[in-house]
């Protein structure tokens, strides 16, 4: 007897959101890091308008990646420290459902940070980042990070050097996301022709889908022992 996929996913997401609303452990760390990063970049790079246009997409994605890394590390560490993952794995649920549940929880947290960051950077950098295509790029990119991050955080959290290991394992793997997301963001902000950012966005969506399917298949092996 296996618990239905949706029931399991919903239970894990509800549990993660409920615990986070109460503790604000992940959001406060990720949010504060993101805020400090963009402030630091904004003061450190005293840029004119043209130079700002050049770097803002890089600043946005680098900040999002590192904020996500902090959140993912903490999220899985909480599961490990409280032993919850063992109890979930001992239940009659598919590993794919556990993966999707944890992924959606992580995506919501990184998404919240992303959507605080966009208006903040709009104010700090004097450029409108609140554009529909850019919001869509952020959603897809963050979903991709959360996908890879959930798999790798589950793997690295079992090691002693987990905090150092996650970025080392994750950064090379998310490179295709970062490059494509930065390309799409740059094209959107520079007002390039729609087909230019649309092709980058399409590529980002395709990479995300491939990574999602791969991670879904690999998760069973990651939690297998």
């Amino acid at each position: 007897m296996k618990t239905p996929f949706i029931t399991c996913v919903a239970a894990i997401v509800r549990k993660d959101l409920r615990a986070e609303i109460r503790s604000r452990e992940l959001l406060s760390v990720m949010g504060l890091f993101a805020l400090l990063s963009v402030l630091l970049f904004s003061f450190a790079l005293e840029l004119d308008r043209q130079a700002r246009e050049e770097v803002v997409s890089g600043v946005l994605w680098v900040t999002l990646i590192f904020a996500s890394l902090l959140g993912l590390n903490r999220s899985m560490a909480l599961e490990r420290d409280q032993g919850g993952l063992d109890a979930i794995l001992a239940a009659p649920v598919s590993r794919a459902a556990i993966f999707v549940g944890k992924l959606l929880g992580n995506f919501v947290f990184t998404g919240i940070v992303g959507f605080v960051l966009l208006p903040l950077m709009t104010a700090l950098y004097g450029m409108n980042l609140l554009r529909a295509p850019l919001i869509l790029t952020t959603i897809i990119g963050l979903f991709g990070f959360a996908t890879v991050g959930t798999l790798l955080a589950t793997l690295t959290v079992q090691t002693r050097a987990r905090e150092a290991l996650l970025p080392i394992a994750m950064l090379p793997i998310v490179l295709p996301f970062v490059l494509t997301a930065v390309r799409a963001t740059k094209a959107i902000l520079s007002g390039a022709a729609a087909n230019e950012w649309q092709s980058a966005l399409g590529m980002l969506a395709a990479i995300t889908l491939i990574y999602f399917l791969l991670c879904l298949l690999l998760y069973e092996y990651v939690v297998g022992e």
């Binding site: 549990k15 615990a19 986070e20 109460r22 032993g83 794995l89």
Partner: protein
């Protein structure tokens, strides 16, 4: 569970972590409804055996059947019928007692209305109803252990696996745990409980097994138990 004479059947069961053997060619048979106390020093293989039985780990050799199902191949079917209590409480500190039970109840596919009823009954049975809406992080070790057993029995498992449940409990909590185990035994559940405290055999247990260096070195009914024999076996 399938109708089998043994709820647990291990034949030449082995488990190694790299080159380090944790269980060596272990043979074990446990009858339905039996309460087995698994004794042994730290590192003797008790936790490894319980992880194999619960499907959290895979054997590296031999054969293991739980409830008539082959492990690890049919672990999904077995998991629904197993309740696991580990030495850590496996609870979420930022959830209340009720929310913890609700979460695990959902994972075992118990529908919402039935879940609410069982949670209420369980909180009363384990004398936790007054703290039902308190966060688990505010609980003492004893209270957490009670909540942990409530969690592990919410889905009414046939087989209850407890790994070092006495760790960190004061005398009152130990007595309460023994009462709960006796009640579970009376309900017909099969229980396998591990402890490194060789003198801490639960009063309701039927059988004592001693694990030493990954092998069973002593196996006897509680009635014929000789403590000096147990000490000798554990230190062998």
């Amino acid at each position: 569970m399938r109708d089998e004479p043994a709820i647990i059947l291990a034949e030449r069961l082995s488990k190694a972590y790299g080159n380090l053997p944790a269980l060596r060619s272990l043979d074990l048979s446990v009858k339905p409804g039996e309460f087995v106390a698994l004794l042994g020093a730290n590192g003797s293989g008790k936790s490894t055996l319980l992880r194999l039985l619960s499907g959290l780990s895979k054997p590296t050799g031999g054969r293991l059947r739980v409830g008539g199902w082959e492990m690890p191949g049919e672990a999904l079917a077995v998991r629904a019928r197993i309740g696991l209590v580990a030495h850590r409480p496996l609870l979420y500190e930022n959830l209340t007692a009720r929310e913890n039970l609700d979460f695990y109840g959902a994972l075992y596919g118990i529908d919402r209305r039935e879940r609410a009823r069982r949670i209420q009954d369980s909180l009363r049975a384990f004398d936790l109803h007054k703290r039902a809406d308190s966060l688990a992080r505010t609980f003492s070790r004893g209270l957490k252990q009670r909540l942990s057993i409530a969690r592990a029995t919410l889905h009414q498992p046939d087989l209850l696996l407890l790994d070092e449940p006495y760790s960190g409990l004061d005398q009152r909590a130990v007595a309460l745990l023994d009462e709960m185990l006796a009640a579970a035994r009376a309900e017909g559940r099969t229980i396998v409980l591990s402890t490194h405290q060789l003198t801490r055999v639960p009063p309701a247990a039927d059988r004592a097994l001693v694990l030493s260096r990954g092998r069973i070195s002593f196996d006897a009914a509680i009635g014929s138990l000789d403590l000096s024999e147990i000490y000798r076996s554990a230190s062998a």
